[in-house]
Symmetry: C2
Subunit: 211 residues, 2 copies
């Protein structure tokens, strides 16, 4: 069942989770899909369809129990137990990612940051020491790491990634501005900031033309 | 015509642009939509449809002239003339974005980075000095800035954004983990790293279950 959920649905699950966190903080116990729609910007129909991929969580006519739905979503996403991850590349972005909002989820933990630059190795990034690339495989194995974030330059990314699949990495968040070739059982998500920015510029210009 | 292009098409334009840059570097002058398909991972049909939104750029039976298509895409996206942008929030991520790959496009220029933290103000980030938020409006007006990247904490983001529309900002790349309310003529793209990471963890776990 879970494997049938389209990528677009999977992408919305963390959005629902965040909204539920906010609702629970405000002591809201029950929420209708209509109210969820107002909070998320997705249609109520979309929300019902999205959640139906994973089971029946709501009660017709009343809505969803926020605490119950949150627990189910944590489980569906895989945030109900600790996920260890590694950051590969200790440039500005790698450092930022290591320190940034990742630490805010108690179940997601950066267990290593790696770089080959001698000036960087040994530097402490919020309690995590930058280690040489030669230590990567050992850390992945010892901490049962499945998720890697790649922030190395484009021309180094493919070499880095080719070794990862053998070490047990199954999901990669790629910030390197290049298309990576990976085995079929590895999932790559490209978080390409240049591309985000360029498509944004298109909209900025649209507006300029209009006025 | 341009305004009719769906978001999904606009998102692919920078991908085509990058592929064309690579092809031109390798002295490839003509490329078929089939070969473009292999390079991008999108279907040839998709590519033909995407480009058809903006005009007729290919020759049936031969393909696209890489240099010509690149120039057209630069123009369509708005990268044929300089785009100035500001980074708001000088935490690790704001600093990384200021230094990161933005500088790699000669037509995209960070003209200011802003923060209210007294320890940060005055710090030099690759030649750009962190300035107080009170200078923001002046910089936006003086440099005719349309695009802002937001990296302030979630609880500060809405306040920051509310002032931006009045200053002339029309496109926002939002890294703050919160949904922003903006006037209709402002386009917001949420580049939420927590959400990217959480949907990635879903796929890492899928794989774990499968094996």
């Amino acid at each position: 069942m879970r494997r049938n959920a389209p990528k677009s649905v999977v992408k919305r699950l963390p959005v629902y989770l965040r909204i539920l966190d906010n609702l629970i903080r405000r002591d809201v116990e029950i929420i209708s899909s209509r109210a969820l729609s107002e909070e998320t910007g997705f249609t109520a129909e979309q929300i019902r369809k999205d959640l139906a991929y994973f089971g029946a969580f709501g009660t017709r006519g009343t809505g969803y129990n926020t605490g119950y739905l949150r627990e189910k979503l944590l489980k569906i996403i895989g945030l109900d137990k600790q996920t260890n991850l590694v950051v590969i590349g200790a440039g500005h972005l790698g450092k930022a990612l290591t320190r940034y909002n990742i630490s805010k989820n108690p179940y997601v933990k950066v267990v290593g940051i790696f770089d080959n630059s001698p000036e960087e190795i040994g530097t402490d990034i919020g309690g995590i020491i930058i280690r040489p690339m030669s230590d990567l495989e050992e850390v992945i194995k010892n901490h049962n790491v499945r998720v890697a974030m790649i922030t190395v330059p484009a021309d180094a990314a493919q070499d880095v990634v080719s070794g990862l699949a053998d070490s047990g990495i199954t999901a990669i968040l790629n910030f390197a501005p290049t298309k990576l070739k990976v085995p079929e059982n590895v999932y790559v998500h490209n978080a390409d900031l240049t591309i985000e920015l360029q498509s944004l510029i298109y909209y900025a210009m649209e507006d300029e033309k209009q006025h």
